[in-house]
């Protein structure tokens, strides 16, 4: 029986990753169209609406950019940890705790002026995220506890913490019986840059640029890449693995926490347990599609922002916004599958005699 097998190409296809991205995106859209057809919707209509809601005009695009900010920061958080071979699955929790810290600062600084309060909340968010990552970082560095498990579990704890705060100490006295956090002071709202994009965009761009440069060009980033390639090689070169694990995971948490602070000041009116909106998990996909490179994270984040914004728009014509989630997953599969074909080609082969 002849069956297809994957054979490694001598030379990977030129311009591989962008090509894989385009092909994967196309495949995802086609598969998504099949799903929509089966569900009885018109794929053309759905895609047209999604496109116009996300890229149709400047206002639409400004909404997309707003979405891309937390996605890019969460993606960056995952990517910097991955440079060293570490998996921060806890960006979601770090965003939540970052937002919680920012909300706490808002309560203290109710009387502060806008710029001071906003700065304090955003920096506080970042510190909160770093603190949320500190436990897993220390456990990994000093006793080798798997960071995937610890960061993942802390996500759930962050949700419960907010629930507790909202139900207890931080319950809004003016909530008329509603269980909610008190409204944020008006002066804490991030000003807009243009249309509906707030100035968090500038912060995100600056952070991406600085950290991207650090990872790819600084000696700190070099040590990170050596350690990611082989821990034993890092030890040989005199690089302290413990310190590297600690700093990189804490920095990763700080970047995710920054997203929490920005979301709270930029898009929320009060602290809720949904303020993170799954950005922490979507960030893992964003980072994976960007091949864990900070430089690619921004572009992928804008695309995912568009898919999410587009997904919400089609609720108006009675299509579930789950379409958006399905599309995000299909894009991931499509691009990864196409990525395999960059490095391998398919050949039809006779079955081989089992030799090993």
């Amino acid at each position: 029986m002849i069956r297809p097998v994957l054979v490694r190409r001598e030379v990977p296809v030129r311009g591989g990753q962008p090509l894989a991205f385009a092909v994967g995106l196309l495949v995802a859209l086609l598969l998504g169209a099949v799903l929509l057809l089966v569900a009885g919707d018109s794929p053309m209509e759905v895609y047209r609406r999604m496109l116009s809601a996300s890229f149709g005009d400047l206002e639409a695009f400004s909404v997309t950019l707003n979405r891309a900010i937390p996605l890019a920061l969460a993606g960056l958080a995952v990517a910097i940890a991955a440079t060293m071979g570490l998996w921060n699955i806890g960006a979601e929790g770090q965003i939540l705790f970052g937002a919680t810290t920012a909300a706490g600062i808002a309560q203290i600084g109710e009387g502060w002026s806008g710029p001071v309060l906003i700065l304090a909340m955003i920096v506080g968010g970042s510190i909160g995220g770093a603190l949320w990552a500190l436990g897993p970082a220390a456990a990994k560095a000093y006793i080798g506890v798997n960071e995937i498990i610890t960061t993942l579990m802390l996500n759930e704890i962050a949700v419960r913490l907010i629930r507790y705060l909202i139900n207890g100490p931080w319950k809004d006295p003016e909530g008329y019986g509603f269980v909610q956090a008190p409204a944020l002071p008006e002066q804490s709202f991030l000003p807009n840059l243009f249309q509906r994009t707030h100035i968090g965009l500038l912060i995100a761009i600056a952070v991406l640029a600085v950290i991207g440069l650090m990872v790819s060009r600084s000696s700190w980033g070099y040590e990170l890449r050596v350690a990611g390639s082989s821990g034993a090689t890092a030890a040989y070169a005199g690089i302290s693995l413990k310190r590297k694990i600690l700093t990189v995971l804490v920095l990763s948490g700080a970047v995710a926490g920054l997203a929490g602070g920005i979301e709270l000041t930029g898009n929320a009116t009060r602290l809720t347990e949904t303020v993170s909106n799954g950005y922490g998990f979507a960030g893992i996909i964003v980072a994976a599609l960007a091949l864990m490179r900070p430089s690619g994270v921004a572009a992928v984040a804008v695309l995912f922002g568009a898919v999410q914004v587009g997904g919400q728009s089609i609720k108006a014509i009675g299509v579930s916004d789950a379409v958006s989630t399905v599309l995000q997953a299909l894009i991931l599969f499509g691009v990864i599958a196409a990525g395999v074909l960059i490095v391998y080609r398919i050949e039809m082969a006779e079955p081989k005699v089992r030799s090993t």
Binding site: L213, M214, R217, S218, S219, W220, Y222, E223, R225, V226, G228, S229, S230, A232, T233, A235, Y236, A237, G238, V353, R354, S355, T356
Partner: protein, 501 residues
């Protein structure tokens, strides 16, 4: 059962791998109910031959006969079904399962009655004096106990022929003696045991017959162990000198550069790997460390390089105590290290040629917090040119380089720092003939320029060819020391095998 056919006959086995012939017409016959030693140096073809018998590899030529009948195995399961069980050096057990679960894994009834299985496993263990509790989990067991579980697995599947691949390497001396009793019971039960080892005293103590391999060929087949002296076995193992040495001109060694005093250290399993090692390396000499793999050489080089802590003793460089210095401090002080595991320790496989070239010196090629890419590339180009590393682009990942070029890059990087001492662990292993020659010449040049070289190798010919002195390590101790000129092959071979000459 006098007329019983031989349990195992391997006839004219050929097996090649890219660049190496592992078995070149190897022969092996094993009698029923006997313990048969297979001896040979690293690379003699022992493991490949055993993997052929256990169905892991298919020979390109030759035949396998069990109890007189020709068999062809497609996979290890076939071999097991025919009665050949193998206990590999790396155990294949599920740590979170119990002993009984591991034993029956893949060979259980559809409905498991664990109580009954545990009783039967305990019974089987008792029959062969294998002391292990069927209810305990693998992760709770010592290496010796895990090995017993592997043996139980083979017995559970009715293995008539059991292959033990260097079984004592992971055992304490007491555990090794217990294993000796277990395999004797198995032999008395009519089973055949193939015992792979480098250690002559174990062969003398536990085995009935011995077959010696060298360079993929059988140089002595089924010799009764009782009639052999360790001296004879050692000579068979190491053979005669093969080629003229490229021995450098003898010269007067200079001042003492590196000195190790009463060094002790543990291996990764927390067993003593080095006990009271003392040696020194002087300017302008190559000191060769000979020994069979796993006798503490790796730990010795790691401790000297600062990658492993010593439990006692001192390391000094230029008379300064560096016992607690970091790897970076040692390198700065003039100690270069070519580790045994080139790509996992000495190089970062996923990074570029440039990134690997600056591994030791990246802090010197910086502009502010950033690495000065132009200076780093210039440095890399210099190493690549001076040491003739063949590479397409300096930005390409080193994963695409050949073994010889990887080693040139590594050795080049270490020598470019102008060290005064080089510790080189297996620097030529796995390289082709030209690569071996090139690396040996680099080390000899370094020695001629007045560096001290400590070279660890399992290839005795190589050490005899280029060393000024040879130190033999056995079980973490220095077993013997020879001046290069009057080093005697068979005496070294004997010392390597743990016999005093």
């Amino acid at each position: 059962m006098d007329a019983a056919p031989l349990a195992v006959e391997l006839k004219g086995i050929w097996k090649r791998f890219p660049g190496v012939v592992a078995n070149a017409g190897t022969e092996l016959t094993v009698k029923r109910g006997s313990i048969h030693a297979v001896l040979g140096e690293n690379g003699a073809g022992k493991s490949t031959l055993m993997n052929v018998l256990a169905g892991v590899y298919r020979p390109e030529e030759g035949e396998v006969r069990l109890f007189g009948e020709r068999v062809v195995f497609a996979n290890p399961a076939d071999a097991l079904a025919a009665g050949v069980g193998m206990v590999h050096q790396e155990f294949r057990l599920v740590p979170t399962f119990t002993v009984a679960e591991n034993v029956v894994l893949g060979a259980a009834d559809r409905v498991l009655n664990m109580g009954a299985v545990e009783r039967r496993v305990a019974e089987l263990a008792g029959q062969f004096s294998l002391d292990v509790d069927p209810q305990r989990h693998i992760w709770q067991l010592s290496m010796g106990e895990r090995q017993r579980v592997e043996i139980l697995k083979a017995l559970w599947r009715d293995a008539e022929i059991l292959i033990l691949d260097e079984p004592t390497a992971v055992l304490t001396p007491n555990e090794a003696d217990e294993l000796g009793l277990v395999i004797r019971r198995m032999a008395n039960d009519g089973r055949s045991v193939i015992f792979i080892s480098h250690k002559l005293h174990e062969v003398k103590q536990y085995c009935d017959e011995a077959t010696v391999l060298r360079g993929g060929k059988t140089v002595a087949a089924s010799m009764p162990v009782a009639d052999l002296t360790p001296q004879q076995l050692a000579e068979l193992m190491v053979g005669e000198a093969t080629e003229a040495a490229l021995r450098p001109e003898p010269r007067q060694a200079g001042e003492q550069l590196l000195s190790v005093q009463n060094l002790c250290a543990l291996n990764n399993r927390s067993l003593e790997a080095l006990s009271n090692i003392s040696l020194s390396v002087h300017a302008g000499e190559i000191v060769g460390i000979a020994g069979v793999a796993g006798n503490g050489q790796r730990e010795l080089s790691d401790v000297i390089a600062g990658l492993r802590e010593s439990t006692s003793g001192t390391v000094t460089l230029f008379g300064e105590d560096i016992t607690t210095a970091t790897p970076r401090q040692r390198f700065r002080a003039g100690l270069s290290y070519i580790p045994e595991d080139r790509v996992g320790v000495g190089l970062a496989p996923q990074l570029s040629v440039t990134d690997n070239a600056i591994l030791r010196s990246y802090r010197e090629h910086t502009r502010g917090p950033l690495i000065a890419v132009d200076r780093a590339k210039a440095f890399c180009a210099d190493v690549v040119d001076s040491f003739k590393v063949r590479t397409g682009s300096l930005d390409q990942r080193i994963a695409g380089l050949s073994g010889g070029n990887l080693q040139r890059l590594l050795v080049g990087r270490e020598l470019t720092a102008e060290p005064s001492v080089i510790v080189a662990s297996q620097p030529t292993r796995g390289l082709d003939v030209q690569g071996v020659k090139a690396i040996q010449e680099l080390l000899i040049d370094a020695r001629n320029e007045g560096l001290g070289v400590l070279m660890i190798s399992e290839d005795l010919d190589e050490l005899l060819a280029i060393s000024d002195r040879i130190i033999v390590m056995h079980e973490g101790q220095i077993a013997a020391e020879y001046e290069g000129a009057d080093a005697d092959r068979s005496a070294i071979g004997l010392a390597m095998a743990g016999e005093s000459p």
